[in-house]
Structure formats: structure tokens, C-alpha cells
Symmetry: C2
Subunit: 316 residues, 2 copies
């Protein structure tokens, strides 16, 4: 089986054994907003080029590939939902000969409308790898659009999006706050760390959220309190610190927390949790391949019917 996480800015694939063991991995820059000439099919062919047996394997994909701007729109499934609900709603378009399964996103209307696409699969993977989380936990997926997800009895019951990563990107690249760090000497590791921690500290002591604090990234630079390149780390600390502060301040009960995703970013979040005096969440890494495998199993995707076997034999 080939499992694919196809997001807005990148594309990752894993070749898997029938028991879910990852045999090989590949990645490319062809997110749905950044496709090569030839569009989705060309990106897929390029990604799988090193795997000569790929044409004979089942495909399952999650992420923005199933959005209205993706290859094939798969309607959202409503919360609460589990792996079985996602598997039942798998989109199965014809795509240039292949018929992959595309995992739907999740949607909620209460307490606030919200949506996710791709993260639901990582959550399924985290629960598959760490069954102790299934009873009740908060899973945090830091990123462009961070998700804070509540799981109870194996189901995703609700979630909240904080667009921390995108806020950091647009402020760094397009606002006056990013100006000093442009072309500045790179900052030393310990200075970067200190600036990040200073940002977290400022955010943690703000009673009014992060917006009133943003300009301090510039004021501190102009008044000599912060080096040019360190303004970037300070801003990161402000935004991440505020995201976590808001969660801790609003939470009504104490569930176990885990951080799902790449270690570097999750490590920054763990640091901020510690500074804010909260239990440091466990880091569980990238669980997308495990989630795709689990959903494929739920969908009966790994037990081809005789008919499918025949078709397959005809076309190769």
C-alpha cells in the first residue's frame, strides 16, 4: 500500500507492508497550491517514480488533496467521529487509472464552527500507536493552522484551530515586524532560545491576549532591547506562548496532552508548556502514516476483492 499526506505546500508518501510497516518514504514540494506542470497526476507520477511497483499498489491519501481546491473534493464528516466513520466516508475518485481512497476532513458546528483536513488522520494514527490516549486526551498538532483536539472513548469530539504558524509567517514576511531580521546576521542558538523564551514570558503575563503585544517586537528592537535577528524568535515565542496560555486559561478539566508532529516545532511547544508551569506533553512524532494505515484497514482497503484482483491483472 502507498499512503500519502498531500497538503497545501508539500506532499509525503510512504510505501507500506500489509502489516503497516513503513518500508520506504518519499516527499516532494508539490502541495496543492504548488503543483508542477501536468498538475496532480504529474506530481503523483514524479513522487512515485522511485517505486517501480507503485502502479500495482493501493493508494490512500489524506489532506488538502480532498478539499475544494484539491484533486477531488470529499465532503467533511461531522464530529464526533472515529476511524470507522472516516473509513466509511472515504472518497474514491478515478484518477488517471488509479482509484485511491481519500480521507475526508472533519467539521464541527458547536461550540464554534471549525474544520480540519489531514489532522484527523494524524489523530487516528496517534490513537493507534498510543491506545492509552483513547479514553480521554487533548492532542495538539502545531503548524500553519494548529489544531487542539479533544478525544473521548476513541472518538474526536471537538477541536479548535489557532492559525499561529500562518500568523507568524505573514507577520515575518509581510509586516514591519519581519524587517529587522531580513538580511541580519543569523542569531546564535542560545540567543535565539533566549528570545523565544522572552516572547513566551511576555505572552504568559498578558491578560489581554497577544494582539496588544505584537508591536513590542519592534519597540524592543528600536529601543535596543532585542537584536535584529532575534526579533523573529521573540515573535515566535509571543505567538506560541499565547496559543498555549489561551488553552490553559480556558480549559475546564485536566486531560493528558500530547504533541503530534515534527519534533523541532513540537519541542518549542513543549518548552513553552514548561515555562507556563503546565505538565509537558508527550511528543509522539508524525503519526500520519499510522493513521492512513488504520483507516485503510477500517475501510477493508487491504483485503482486495477477487473482482479487483481481476481488474488489476487485466490492466498490467
Amino acid at each position: 500500500m502507498i499512503a500519502i499526506d498531500w497538503g497545501t505546500s508539500a506532499l509525503r508518501a510512504w510505501r507500506m507492508a500489509a502489516d503497516g510497516t513503513v518500508l520506504d518514504a518519499a516527499s516532494g514540494p508539490w502541495g496543492i497550491l504548488n503543483l508542477p506542470e501536468g498538475g496532480f497526476p504529474a506530481a503523483l507520477v514524479a513522487l512515485l517514480a522511485d517505486w517501480p511497483d507503485a502502479a500495482g499498489l493501493k493508494l490512500i491519501a489524506c489532506g488538502m488533496i480532498g478539499s475544494v481546491n484539491g484533486w477531488h473534493e470529499v465532503p467533511y464528516v461531522d464530529c464526533p467521529a472515529d476511524a470507522a466513520a472516516l473509513a466509511r466516508a472515504l472518497g474514491r475518485p478515478h484518477m488517471g487509472g488509479a482509484v485511491p481512497g481519500i480521507v475526508p476532513g472533519l467539521r464541527q458546528f458547536q461550540p464554534l464552527p471549525d474544520v480540519m483536513r489531514g489532522e484527523e488522520t494524524q489523530i487516528v494514527g496517534a490513537l493507534a500507536l498510543h491506545p492509552d490516549l483513547s479514553h480521554a486526551a487533548t492532542l495538539i498538532l502545531p503548524g500553519t493552522h494548529s489544531k487542539w483536539v479533544t478525544v473521548r472513548h476513541g472518538r474526536i469530539t471537538g477541536f479548535h484551530t489557532a492559525m499561529t504558524g500562518e500568523l507568524f509567517a505573514v507577520l515575518s514576511q509581510h509586516s514591519i515586524l519581519g524587517r529587522p531580521a531580513e538580511g541580519a546576521e543569523p542569531v546564535a542558538e542560545d540567543e535565539a532560545r533566549a528570545a523565544f523564551r522572552r516572547g513566551v514570558q511576555a505572552a504568559s503575563s498578558s491578560r489581554q491576549g497577544v494582539a496588544p503585544l505584537l508591536f513590542s517586537a519592534r519597540s524592543l528592537f528600536l529601543t535596543g532591547g532585542l537584536g535584529a535577528a532575534a526579533t523573529r524568535d521573540y515573535l515566535s515565542g509571543l505567538l506560541v506562548g499565547d496559543e498555549i496560555r489561551a488553552f490553559l486559561a480556558d480549559r475546564t478539566e485536566m486531560l493528558p496532552t500530547v504533541l503530534v508532529g515534527e519534533d523541532r516545532l513540537c519541542g518549542l511547544y513543549a518548552q513553552a508548556f514548561e515555562m507556563l508551569g503546565a505538565p509537558v506533553p508527550r511528543l509522539v512524532g508524525n503519526t500520519a502514516p499510522a493513521g492512513l494505515y488504520r483507516i485503510a484497514v477500517e475501510a477493508g482497503y487491504l483485503r482486495p476483492t477477487p473482482e479487483e484482483d481481476t481488474t488489476h491483472g487485466d490492466t498490467t
Copy 2:
């Protein structure tokens, strides 16, 4: 006298009688980051082209023209400061034959470092036009970098910057939140107003600031709760509402408030104040010309010495 407000993105000038009466106004798009070929001198010549007597008049300017990226850097004056302190610190560079006065910006270190350049002049103007504010007031100058300024006994004693306008601009132009409104049918006046008010309402009921709410501009759109073009007004309401909510929540005493600046933007702020159940601030319009005049008077700028008169006679 010619008074100039020379900011980051635009340039405005007023021709004035010796008693401060505005005789004429001119403006151009040549902010300090958007200069024509020929730079600052060319922008000035173009701006004053319609005023044949301009070469014989005194010039006074405020705004980013005095910043490190401006024509001539004028060091910040520290708070607390009044019109006299600004007049004493006026920069007087030679600029292609003319010697304008450039108003310094203001700086504070406590309680948080902060800076302004241009707004100090508008505040001086507001106090000159409305002497009742001098005893104690909060002056609000909405904009790219909104300033919330405390005045006591005629002096600016402290201030705070909220980068609301820039946050709105970068999120609208560069983040996923701006996507739906791009190319969408323009929204009707009353729908825009309703969406703005809905944003203010959401911000007013948030206990954790605006960051956790930002993604709702997209979720509401995706789940059918908000029209494409109205997402822009909703976002504006979120940001303006949060800015005012944070001020009201943090304030320790009730000073009279006024809104300084263009009527359209100040009107939105007034609307949000009303929705938040606070006394609606008075609108005092653009007070930059009055401020430049007052500082010029304090600087003795309008009583040319005989020497200067001679020089002037020689060069024309």
C-alpha cells in the same frame, strides 16, 4: 508656512496663514517607502508644484520623514513630553536649499518600550483645538499602528501601540483569511456593517484575546455562516473589537476619550465602543496641521529673524 505630514505610505501638505488658518491642501502617494525617481527632493518639488510662493515659505514636517529610513533622522524625545519639548528638539537639516523643521518622534521605556513618529504632532494639534482635553484624557489614533495615548496636564505621559491596521492588511492580503473576499462580489453596505458588528461581538466575548478567534473568519465562511466578501468586514470587526476590548479591560481609571484621525475609520471605532457598552469617544478629525502649526509657534518658527530675512532676499 507649509506644514507637511510625511508618513510611510503618503505625504500631505497644508499651506497656512501666519495665524494657522489652512489656505490650501495637497497630497501625494510618495511615502518614505514609495518615493518617485529623484527621491525626497523630487517628491517635495512635485507636492509643492501648485504653490508658486512655496519657495519663500517656512517648512515644518512630521512623521516617518524623521526616521532612520527617512530624509533626515531626528532622535526620539522621551516621554513625558509636550509641544515645547518637541519644538526644542526639532531637527533642522539642510535639504536642497530649504531648512525645514522636522518634528521628533516620542519614545518611552516604561511600562513597555514603545515609539511613535507623527502621532505626537496630531496629539499636540488635538490639545490645541480642544483645550479641555489637556487636563487628562485618552487619545486614540486608529491606523496601521494605532496609538492609545494618555495626556495629563498638557503632556503626553505614556502610550501603547496596537498594530491593528497592519494586522488587518497582512491577514487580508497574504493569509488564507483574505482568499474568499478576493474577486468576490462587493458586499452591500448593510451586510458589511452586520459582518463588522458580528466580528466586534465575537471579540468582545472572547476571554483570551483575538488570536484564538482569527480562524473563525474562515470556518464561518466554509460552513456557510458568512458570505465571501463579508469575511473582510468580519475580520476588521474582530481586530478592532479586540483592540478596544483590551483597552477597556486593562484601564484602571475612566478618562475622557477622543478619536483622532479620518472620519471613516474613527466612525468604525466609535461604533465598536458603543457595542462594547463604553462611552462613545468624541471624533476630532485630522489634527496634524494644527499640531504642526502649534509646534512651529513654540519653536519661534513663525517669527523670522532679520538675518534669515536677508538670506532669503539674497537667494530669490
